[in-house]
Every structure is written in C-alpha cells, then in structure tokens.
Symmetry: C2
Subunit: 416 residues, 2 copies
C-alpha cells in the first residue's frame, strides 16, 4: 500500500502489481533481437504459435468472419446472446455427450466473463472460491476483484492422480464455514499442468459432492473450465465426462464455460458462453435471468460477428468438418511438441506434472524464480509459478521442446 493520494474506494486499493508473464515475454523478444529468434525459446506465450512464431490460425474461421454482411459487425447482439449462437455453443460444448437435465446458455466475453458471473452470482462477499494449487492466475484476480478469496487443495496425490482426499477435505472445511460454494475446475487439459481428470476421478468428485448436498442448506456450484477441450483428445471421448453432470441433486449446479479463443483461434474477438446443467427447471430459469441481468449490468452484450460465425459452423456439417480438419493440423503440431518434451523429460529424469494434453507442461521445483532466471542464461523463457515453472509447449517448436528438459534438470540442480 502506498501513501500516495488515492481516489478509488478502499476495496479497490491494491499494491502496484506487474504482469510477470508480460515482462518475461518482453525479455524473450529482446533476446531474440540480440541473439536471433531461432536461438531463443519463448515458452511464456499462452497461445498456439507456428514454428516461425506466428499465431496459429484456423483459416476457414477467419474466412467466415470476413465474409459476414456489414450488419453483423454493426448491430448489437441481444443481451443474452444470439439464440442461434447459444444453440451452437451447446453443440460445441457437448457434441454427442449432452447430459440429462435442464440446459441453458448465456453469451459471455470468453471464458473469463463466465467465471466472473459465476463467482459473483453464486457466492457471497468474503466467501472462498475453491481451485487446485495449480491454477490459472486470473482465477485469483477475478475472485479478488469481487471481494472473494481463493482456497486451494493439492491437485496431485503421490501417484500423480487427482488428489481426491485433498479435494474432499477442503470442500468439507469450506462448507463448514459457508453455504454457497463455487468450485473452479479446469479440465481437461488443465492450465498450467496439462492434466485431465479421468471419468473415474470425475465420478469420485461428484459422488462426494452429492454426499455434501444431502445438507439442503448447502449450494454447490461446480464450474468446469473447458478452455482447452479442443486440444484434449478425440472429440467425444474427451467430452464423455459431461454425461456425469446429469441427474445431480438440485443444489449442485454445473456450469461449463465455452470459449472461442483457443478452439476457433478467435482470442481477439472475446466470445464465449456459460452453459448450465441442472436437474431443477427453476434453477435453469434463474441461471438465465440472473446472468442476463449481469450481462446488462457489466458489459451489456457480446461480440455479434463471432457469435454468428459459430452459429454458421454448427448449422453446416461441411463447414464444421472443414474447421475440424484445419484444427487437426494444429492439434497434431501441439501433441508432437508435447511428446518431444515428455520423451526427453523421461530420458533425463526430469520430474513433470502428469501431462495429458493441452498448451502447457509444468515442472514442479523449489525456487522457481531462481530456476527461471537461470534458464534465461540459456535463452529459455518460461513462467515461474508458486510451486514450479510453466512451459508453454503451444508456443515452442518441436525441436526446441526436445532440447529443453535437459536444461531444466541442470538449472533445477543448481538450486536444490
């Protein structure tokens, strides 16, 4: 806190923060100018890049966007989102794995907006929001912006599986203190670890929550962040866990966050949706009303042209196939990079979090800040986190991914 003159209300006064990822990315770009881009490993960027460092793009999506009639850019979308977009978003999320229950959707700016509405509408001021100890930093920003706190549990057990005991224990503790509980779970292809819960692990999670929901005072909102699902394996296989969200007690509400950022390479268009699954029709209607009100009360409405593009894709099987074919090239590039990293990590005995799929691999270590600095001497730029280092395989060519694990081993050894 500073003694400088301040105009904001007390709850908005914060120590000056710096975006460390931005700073690291800057340092990597400076290094590329000095040493040449091919000498620098910039693993700080959270977007899928081609080997030449350019952003990966699904061309048919951009083509659709450019080809819209003028009015589609110019006109407002309805507050809740274009109806045909909301239908398309449900299809994009569930594909053939639609759970039983009442399902409603509301457009939001990316997945972030969906998190905001969920945190705000389904928890109380001062409540704790639950995430694993490995989590995407902005979860904390969103919680703090809205006067909530983050509580964490250990994500992995000693066998590198989902730590169900740690999860249950923390849920238990929080439910002793609060009636509303929002649980944020980013799976499959978790950011930052690349972990995906198995269906058995999902079943264990839900079975425990059902037990807790026997207390009718408790209201549990399970928020499933699937930002990376289109890079998490076979379309229906990696969505099969969604069927499990059917038939839950009425005081467990599941909300799935859809985003066009990664799966449709439309990061810059800010288009997503929040989709609820509930066994109680009142809860579904309340979801629609409350989050539509919040849309109007926060950002008014969403980006219409992106909505129309998604609607077009899911109204035309040929278009969908084209998008999927183009996306599969990106998926393959990504999984080859990850495979190269993982294979070499095994060879040199580098301990990594149990990666299944997605944009990031995480290397747990002590002293992540120092290790990250040490790696920069080898022109490797990665992101230090609380208990390890996030390496963005999404933004690093396969050849470099293969060479990096050995460097990690050496850098980590220096500080152990």
């Amino acid at each position: 806190m500073s003694t400088k003159f301040s105009m904001v209300a007390a709850h908005s006064r914060r120590p000056a923060g710096e975006d460390s990822i931005f700073a690291i990315n800057n340092a990597a770009q400076q290094a590329a100018k000095v040493h040449g881009a091919d000498k620098v490993v910039n693993a700080s960027v959270g977007a899928l890049l081609e080997d030449d460092g350019k952003l990966s793009i699904i061309p048919s999506v951009i083509e659709l966007l450019r080809g819209l009639p003028a009015v589609e850019y110019a006109a407002y979308a309805p507050i809740a989102g274009l109806p045909n977009f909301l239908e398309a978003a449900k299809k994009a999320v569930f594909r053939d794995q639609t759970p039983e229950g009442y399902i409603e959707a509301i457009a939001t700016p990316g997945g972030s907006g969906a998190i905001r509405h969920t945190v705000w509408n389904y928890s109380n001021a001062g409540d704790h929001i639950l995430t694993p100890d490995w989590y995407w930093g902005p979860y904390k920003t969103i919680a703090e912006e809205h006067g909530r706190f983050i509580s964490t549990y250990t994500l992995f057990d000693e066998n590198d599986h989902f730590h169900i005991e740690a999860f249950c224990k923390t849920v238990e503790e929080l439910l002793q203190k609060q009636d509303q509980l929002v649980i944020l779970l980013n799976s499959p292809a978790n950011n930052p670890t690349g972990y995906s819960l198995s269906n058995e692990e999902w079943e264990a999670v839900l079975s425990f929550l059902k037990q807790k929901a026997a207390n009718a005072e408790k209201k549990i909102t399970l928020f499933v962040d699937i930002a990376y699902i289109d890079f998490a394996g076979k379309t229906n296989e990696c969505r099969s866990f969604m069927k499990l969200f059917g038939g839950l007690p009425e005081n467990i509400l599941t909300i799935v966050a859809f985003s066009m950022s990664k799966g449709y390479t439309l990061y810059g268009m800010r288009c997503g949706a929040m989709i609820c699954i509930t066994s109680n029709q009142d809860v579904a209607e309340e979801f629609k009303a409350a989050n539509q009100f919040s849309n109007r009360g926060v950002w008014s409405n969403g980006t219409r042209p992106a909505m129309t593009v998604l609607a077009q894709i899911f109204e035309n099987p040929d278009l969908l196939k084209k998008v999927e074919t183009e996306r599969s090239i990106l998926q393959q590039m990504l999984s080859q990079r990850a495979a190269a990293f993982m294979e070499n990590a095994r060879k040199v005995n580098l301990k990594v979090c149990p990666y299944k799929a997605g944009f990031f691999i995480t290397i747990p270590c002590s002293n992540p800040e120092a290790v990250t600095q040490e790696l920069q001497k080898d022109l490797i730029f990665a992101v230090p986190m609380g208990k390890g280092i996030r390496f963005a395989v999404c933004s690093v060519p396969e050849k470099q991914c293969a060479l990096v694990p050995e460097k990690f081993v050496k850098a980590i050894a220096k500080f152990e």
Copy 2:
C-alpha cells in the same frame, strides 16, 4: 421474490424482470407484418436506421474491419487495450479540446464497461450513484448489479435549462452520507431527452463541485457519458466543454466514456474506453492500475480488431476525413428527422423535453404506459419511461416524424 428453489447468492435474487423495449420492438415488428412496414412507426429502437429500416452503417469502417490481417481478429489485445487504440481513443474523444492534466485511457467493452468499472472502483458498497431523473435504464442495472443505488435530481428547471439547484441539493445530501460520490452525466445529446449542457451549465456544475471538494475527505468522480457526441453538433464546438475538466482539485476525478457503437456504427463489436482527466499524477496512475486490474478480473481484454480500426482511422487523416464524410450523411438524416418532429410539436403545442441533438426525443406526460398503449392503436411504438415517453427519431423516417406529434397530443389528452 419467489418461493422457487434458488441457487444464486442472496444479492443476486431478483424478481423476474422483462425487457420492455424488447417487447415493444417485437410488437412493432408483428404489426409491420400485419399492416405493412410503411404503416408502422417503430420508435423503440436505440440505433440509427435508414428510412427502409436497415441499420445505418459507415461503409469505410466496415471496409477497414474486413481488410485486417487474420492475426488482428485472432490475437488477444493487451489487458489495458492496444496502445495505439488508447491514443486514438483520446484523439476521438477530445479532438482539439484536450483539457490540461494527466490523461490515461483503458479499453472497455463499449461505454457500459466504463460505467461498470467507475461504479465499482470509485464508490463503496451501498453508496448512491447520482443521475438526473431522465436517465438510460441500464445505469440502474449496473448500479444494482454491484450493490449500489441510484439517486436522482430533476434534470430541467421551469425554463427547460439544467436544474443546477436540484443538482447541487442532491450532491449536498449525498455527500453528507458518503465520502465517495460517482456522478453519471450523459451529455451532450442525452439519452433519452436529447439535452446538452451548455458550457455555462458545465461551469456551474464544476464550480459547485469544487466548493464541495474543499472538504478533502470527499472524493468526487464525475463520469461523462458521451455515447452520442458524434451526433451532437460541430466536432470541436460540441467538445469545447471538455477543456473545463482541466485544473480541477485532485479529489475531483473526471472520467469520459468513449464508445465505437454509435459514432463508428460498430455496436456489435463492443469496443470503447474510459479516459481520465486529473490534476494529480498519482490519481492517473491509480486509474490505470485499478481499471486494468478490473479488466483482468471481469472480462480479461477487449475486441482487438475494433481497436485496430480506430487506430488506423486516427493515424491517417484521409481515412478520418472519409469516415467523417460518410458520418455526416447520417448526421444530416438524423437532424432532419428531429427538426421535422420538433417543428410539428411546436405547431400542435406538444410539450417535449428541450432537445438539442441525438437519437431520442422525450415527451413528458402523466400515465406514460397508457399513452404508449393508446399510440399503438395508431401503430406508433414508443417506449414508456417513468415520467414520459421516449421517441427514437434515430429509427423513424422524417415523414413519419412529422406526423407523430399530433398523435401524441391526442393520446395524451385522453389520459389527463
């Protein structure tokens, strides 16, 4: 409130509301199908339409948007907004009327996002936000979403000027109860009345606020919503009041909301900015930090392609001229419609709010709901408000604008 099963937290429980403007617009469209579009006056739409009912568009803006390289749609913008967009937004807002002081900008989704951040960061929970009695409905939605209340003062005195006494009295009352005061003022071309404060009226407002700011405990944020400024008169003339925001005490912060929705006909792209003017550098830096944090904590970042379009326009004088030339056709169409309405209102002695410019004319009357219903018998669809009826000259052809005042007189007479 209902007895239905509910999952949301207590602060998000609300009686089911209906969007009345949406319902009226629907009714107008139904009537057009039955009676023919040329027989129906649909004055419910808050966007500028051509005489044939199609959305008015500035073609060169759409052309720029369509012509961007793919990466401009695909890539994220920085959290605070693209730097060249923020510079362009300042130019678009101030033109040659930049006030003295520290000026910073943060990108937001339209003007709505700017209101949200201002209300959240510059007032406390439970505070009252000040607006005139004629105000855009979503001001209330935004306040309520964030646990604030709306307080109003009478906008017009008996001479149809800004009611400075009413304004001062309400500011006085609120500052006795709270230290943080956010004042929302939509001028020039106020929605719904079309009123613009004169520079003398602005001076009176600021002179009073300066007086109140002598109490260093009080922190006053003056939020100026200029959504319709590009339809409010000559470029620099209608911006000349902005010079007055220079040299204010450090505990008066001015925030101007910029939006690309109306002036650039990009409603559907959700791009705007909040721009601060302050005499204290700390306040400007805090503005940047707090609202960037809020961006990350609410919707993450903004619509990049729209930002790039604005940057291009203000980096190229020929492009700017082209946009302005195309916009001037729309401005002329709008002012002819308004002139036709006002001229005929005078002829038939219809009392209207003192319209200066903008999308809407408001007719004060008792029993606005009943009068609106009565007008629908003549196939005139307008929006009832608390103390009158909003007629959207922006969406009604000149010929119809000329015929409507007489119908208003008759309908109002029925209920007086």
